[in-house]
């Protein structure tokens, strides 16, 4: 039966398929068009805009100028960069530690199978659940009229009286962790799965303490994945625009929000300032990637010894 089906389907191919050379040449041409199209598309809508930012930041009314790049070093924008970098670094470290712990605990052989599936699949959803909806979810929870805020007040704990506010850097950090932790779980899970139980047992049999196992076996194995995950988490938080915008209506000093303010004309300034700020962001990301490459090389040598 199966054989019949295959045989009968071959002669049934349309006539234009049976003239191989002509069709092949035509399809090659289409393929070239699409492949070329992809590269042209990337150049036009990814590379050139990046170059436009680079050039625009230095373009004055009469030729080149450093005026706008210098503006980056005025207190207002220095604060924005410091806030952005701090917020990203803090949520990267906390999100990284929490995400690694959760992945390790959930994936350990002692955990029941349903827990593993639940943690991994929920992480997939939560890491993608960000931006405006996430901001409102946290307003519903920890805003001034949030459910948890009111509930805690009922028990005598006044969050906002105690200095907490969702609409500060601290509140943003609490919100960012909602996508940072699951992101870490997803990225680090394959590496955690790679930690063989046998290695741990072997170390134990050779008399290693738990600390020694982690210092000489577990951590070095996880290190490359950890470094890569850290870069991803940092970039993820650093580029975040929707979440802080929806939470603070753009009224907190973060670089993406400042760029947004320039672009939507909320602040009176030349468009070049936005490009200078964007250039600053790209440079911070480039520096992060550079540091990653260096650290990776350095640790690769260290791991060999």
């Amino acid at each position: 039966m199966m054989g019949d089906g295959v045989e009968s389907s071959v002669p049934a191919a349309p006539a234009w398929l049976t003239r191989p050379r002509l069709v092949d040449r035509g399809m090659r041409w289409v393929q070239w068009l699409l492949v070329g199209g992809f590269f042209a598309y990337s150049i036009a809508f990814l590379l050139l805009p990046s170059v436009a930012v680079l050039v625009g930041a230095f373009r004055g009314e009469h030729g080149l100028t450093l005026r706008y790049v210098r503006l980056l070093f005025t207190p207002r924008y220095l604060v924005a960069f410091r806030n952005s970098i701090e917020l990203s670094a803090v949520t990267t470290v906390i999100g990284g530690v929490c995400g690694l712990s959760i992945a390790y605990l959930a994936l350990s052989p002692r955990s029941p199978g349903w827990l593993r599936v639940a943690v991994i699949s929920f992480s997939g959803v939560a890491a993608n659940f960000a931006g405006v909806p996430l901001a409102f979810a946290f307003v519903s929870t920890l805003g001034t009229m949030g459910l948890l805020t009111l509930w805690l007040k009922h028990f005598g704990i006044d969050l906002y009286g105690g200095g907490f506010s969702l609409f500060t850097l601290f509140g943003l950090a609490v919100t960012y962790l909602y996508f940072q932790i699951p992101l870490m779980v997803i990225i680090i899970s394959p590496a955690v799965r790679g930690l063989r139980r046998e290695w741990r047992e072997a170390a134990k049999n050779l008399g290693a303490t738990s600390w020694q196992y982690w210092r000489y076996v577990g951590f070095p194995i996880l290190l490359p994945a950890l470094l890569a995950a850290m870069v991803l988490l940092f970039g993820n938080a650093f580029a975040a625009y929707a979440t802080p915008y929806a939470l603070t209506s753009g009224n907190i000093a973060l670089v993406p929000l400042e760029i947004g303010n320039v672009l939507s004309g909320n602040v009176m300034s030349a468009p070049q300032l936005g490009q200078a700020l964007a250039l600053g962001m790209i440079l911070v990301m480039a520096a992060t990637m550079g540091a990653y490459v260096l650290l990776q090389r350095y640790t690769a040598r260290w791991r060999r010894h």
Partner: protein, 264 residues
Amino acid sequence: MATPLSSRLPQPGWRAVLLGVAGLYFMAPLIATGVFSLWDGGNRYNFSAYAQLLGTPEFWQSLFLSARLALLTVLLSLLLLVPTVYWVQLRAPRLRPVLEFIAVLPFMVPAIALVEGLSALYTGPAWLVGTPDFLVVAYVILALPYTYRVLDVGMRTLDIRTLGEAAQSLGATWPTVMLRAILPNLAGALVGATLLTLAIVMGEFTFANILLFNTFAVYINYVGQSSGSQAAALSLLSFLMTWLAMLGIFLIGRRGQVQLGGAR
């Protein structure tokens, strides 16, 4: 002398406590959003926020706009990327680093910086830049790292070279190879890339907000200025859509290969 290893391992009790705290942190916002969406002032709880939304034309317009943009983004992404990834893997492996670089670049250039560059560079023509369809151009770039990764992994695990050669030695022409040997076997990767792109575009806010187009996420933000309950209802709906997309990816297999993306 040293404490036995087993006593230092996290005990089941510890595991439960730590995972329990994490569970609370992740569940609390969802529960609070659900309760808040049902709140109708005072002590009244009902579905009026949902009912009002369903009767609001702007809700449907923004939802349909985002859905249309998502579909167009999926089509354009696949059209550009499937042949390219296939061709690079099969014919020009030397170009692979170039492709990898292009795929990592959207990560180096944050979305807000890309908006800046795009709007500085392209001020016309109005039939493209002035319509919401212009967002598709940017969304293809936004989704690029994820789409590329899914397709690359999909084609590599498939071993397209053997598959293509086997089909060709049986007399299949190029279109037959593509349409009847490669694509059907890539179905999983294609569906994965599609669902992921859908999730990204349905929640995208940065581009739409700056370029002033009323997409779903922009509408949620707009509603949030006036009605907390409706914003909560929309946020929950958004979570549900993300969940469905991820469920789809999870169900089509490749265990543990949870994909990521999203609009921050």
